[in-house]
Amino acid sequence: MTWERYGGNDSRHLGSAVKALQIVHLYAHEMNIYGDRGNIISLVKRLEWRGLKAKITEVGVGDKLDLRTADIVFGGGGQDKGQAMIAKDLRRRQVNLRRALDEGVVMLAICGTYQLFGHHFKTRSGQVIPGIGLFDAVTVGSDHRMIGNLVVDSLWGQLVGFENHSGQTELTAGQPALGQVRKGHGNNDYSQQEGAVSHNAFGTYMHGPLLPKNPQLADELLRRALQRHGASAELEPLDDQLEKRAASIAGNRPQ
């Protein structure tokens, strides 16, 4: 299958409403493991191929962040040390992030960031790291390392990724999950549920990274972000055959 440059120039009607989508990458350097920056690449390219622009702002510990202009907020996975480093800083931004969530800012939180988007994370040694409670969920450290290919059925079709975590996340009744687990563990080793969705915020344990092989979800995030600008919800379809093929093969790999 030969790659061809995709993307049309008929998205000009969208282009006039939106100069550039503002993407905030939280803790790009502290939480920089597992290739999760591929999610940013997926969003940026899928916008570009439709004639739209994106502007990425990296926000680290102590950096200023004006969420009023943010369209998409992204935070990736990291090592335990990275997570400990960002927790306090994230808490300082809790009120603003809460307001942003309520106003419909699109968010994607992966693994260690996902855990901190819940109420708290209780480590194996009993230490409680407070989170920002955007998801009604609590994570507890365990001895069970859940590693392997992860396939999930969601409202946006089948999602394929890779999980690697020993934290067990429990959703409070009423907190919607991202989807049902087909293969793998997901949030924990008993509920067969993976991730969480609150308004336009998505949390998940899926690496892979998540968006490149699940372009329908990438487009869902983009659509929601563009809609907040009053732009039409129609995104010109791209040829995602390559992504679908990759997802199909990945989904059939042993857990």
Binding site: D36, G38, K81, G82, L242, E243, A246
Partner: protein
């Protein structure tokens, strides 16, 4: 008990040779199950043991060191590529033992997988441990770099001396709290350092939690590394001297490996000048920039295991050229089952390339997606054998085709190439 283990092991070796599976680590695996202390017992017969560990460069550096030692006339026991777990070392010791359990060498140089360093080190009580680097690698195997550093640190206490990479903060930090008389650092002079980012610099800048570390001053400093047709010319500086040296391997990353091997050689008592003579003769280890001729065509195997290694390969061989490239990505256990790491590789450095990259391997389509988003043209194929045949036949006479595989893809490709071309025995 020790003798019984030796006989059992030798019987297994004979059997595996008959079955045509020579060189596997099966004998070692069985021996260790039979007699847990085999390695300690056999190891006691060695006067010098050197262990080489780190994410990238173990096989190459261990090969460089072992061939230096052999080259100056000292018999050495070393483990084959791929045999860097405890059983691989047991197999190697067995190979060099006679039926009375006597070893035919007094020096052992072993590459050891990071997670096993502690166990092996406790058994062998090495004179020297060499830690090359700590880079994000098969994350689904070890989970986290910090933990890997911890695992390595536990093994260091058994070593008389330790050689550490001063330019890799995670490795340099392993020197904390240890007597300076035990520590030897190697590193590169400023302009060379930037060509080999450590993990923290991998994505462009330093994470805030790594304090700007003023690395320890290296006693062995790399001052020059210039690639040539046949490898490179390099130079090093110690406290008192400057020495030129040559390698049959290209790239700054191999210059570091060479420097580390020379430092190790001198530390175990070899003469530096003699070591430098020997190191210039050492051919690349299998799959690591190894060139293989098939008739009038040549392919070069460039093994990749992680983002740092892949970026080095891209920089050194692939960027800015239109050489045919075949990339084969598998996700078996030894390759790393999580292929997310492909998105930490800077494929964008291939921008401008017109000739499509051939993407193959079990996760060839994942690679194709990555290349699509990097806007690098590619073609995806599934059948490895047919794809390789086509790739080689499409090469023009005298042209080099670059093959960039992950570990198990490399094994498969090498096997296929062996059938059709001129490929040496797996390096002993």
């Amino acid at each position: 008990m020790y003798l019984l283990a030796i006989w059992l092991g030798k019987l297994i070796i004979l059997t595996t040779r008959l079955v045509g599976n020579a060189g596997s680590a099966l004998p070692g695996l069985v021996i260790e199950k039979f007699y847990r202390n085999f390695i300690s017992r056999a190891g006691k017969k060695l006067q010098q043991v050197v262990l080489v560990t780190g994410t990238n460069g173990k096989t190459t550096t261990n090969k460089l060191l072992s061939e230096i030692v052999k080259g100056v006339g000292r018999p050495v026991i070393t483990n084959r590529a791929g045999g860097n777990l405890s059983r691989g070392i047991a197999s190697a010791l067995l190979d060099h033992a006679d039926w009375w359990g006597r070893l035919d060498a007094r020096i052992g140089c072993f590459e050891v997988d990071e997670a096993f360093l502690s166990a092996v080190s406790a058994k062998l009580k090495p004179q020297l441990i060499l830690v090359l680097n700590l880079l994000r690698d098969q994350l689904d195997r070890y989970g986290e770099l910090d933990r890997t550093a911890e695992l390595i640190n536990q093994g260091l206490k058994y070593a008389r001396k330790i050689i550490l990479n001063a330019d890799d903060p995670l490795v340099a930090a392993l020197g904390k709290g240890k007597a300076s008389s035990r520590l030897i650092y190697f590193g590169a002079a400023a302009p060379l350092k930037t060509k080999l980012p450590h993990d923290a610099e991998l994505l462009g800048t330093n994470p805030s939690y790594l304090q700007p570390v003023k690395g320890p001053r290296p006693q062995w400093l790399l001052t020059k590394s210039i690639s040539t047709r046949s490898g490179q010319v390099a130079a090093l500086k110690t406290a008192s001297e400057v020495h030129d040296f040559k390698l049959r391997l290209p790239g700054v990353y191999n210059a570091y490996n060479g420097l580390a091997a020379l430092a190790a050689a001198q530390t175990i008592g070899l003469e530096l000048a003699a070591a430098i003579d020997q190191i210039s003769e050492v051919a690349p280890a299998f799959g690591r920039s190894e060139q293989i001729k098939i008739g009038t065509k040549t392919v070069q195997l460039l093994l990749v295991k992680n983002p740092a290694g892949f970026n080095q390969i891209i920089n050194e061989f692939l960027a800015g050229s239109e050489h045919p490239i075949l990339m084969a990505i598998n996700d078996n256990f030894a390759d790393g089952r999580d292929v997310s790491w492909l998105w930490d590789v800077d494929f964008e450095a291939l921008t401008g390339r017109k000739h499509p990259v051939t993407a193959t391997g079990i996760r060839g389509y994942d690679l194709a997606v990555r290349l699509k988003y990097a806007e690098i043209p590619s073609v995806t194929k599934r059948n490895l054998s047919r794809t390789l045949r086509r790739f080689v036949s499409d090469l023009k006479p005298g042209q080099i085709g670059y093959i960039v595989p992950t570990y198990t893809a490399m094994l498969s490709l090498r096997r296929l190439l062996k059938k059709s071309g001129d490929v040496g025995e797996v390096w002993r």
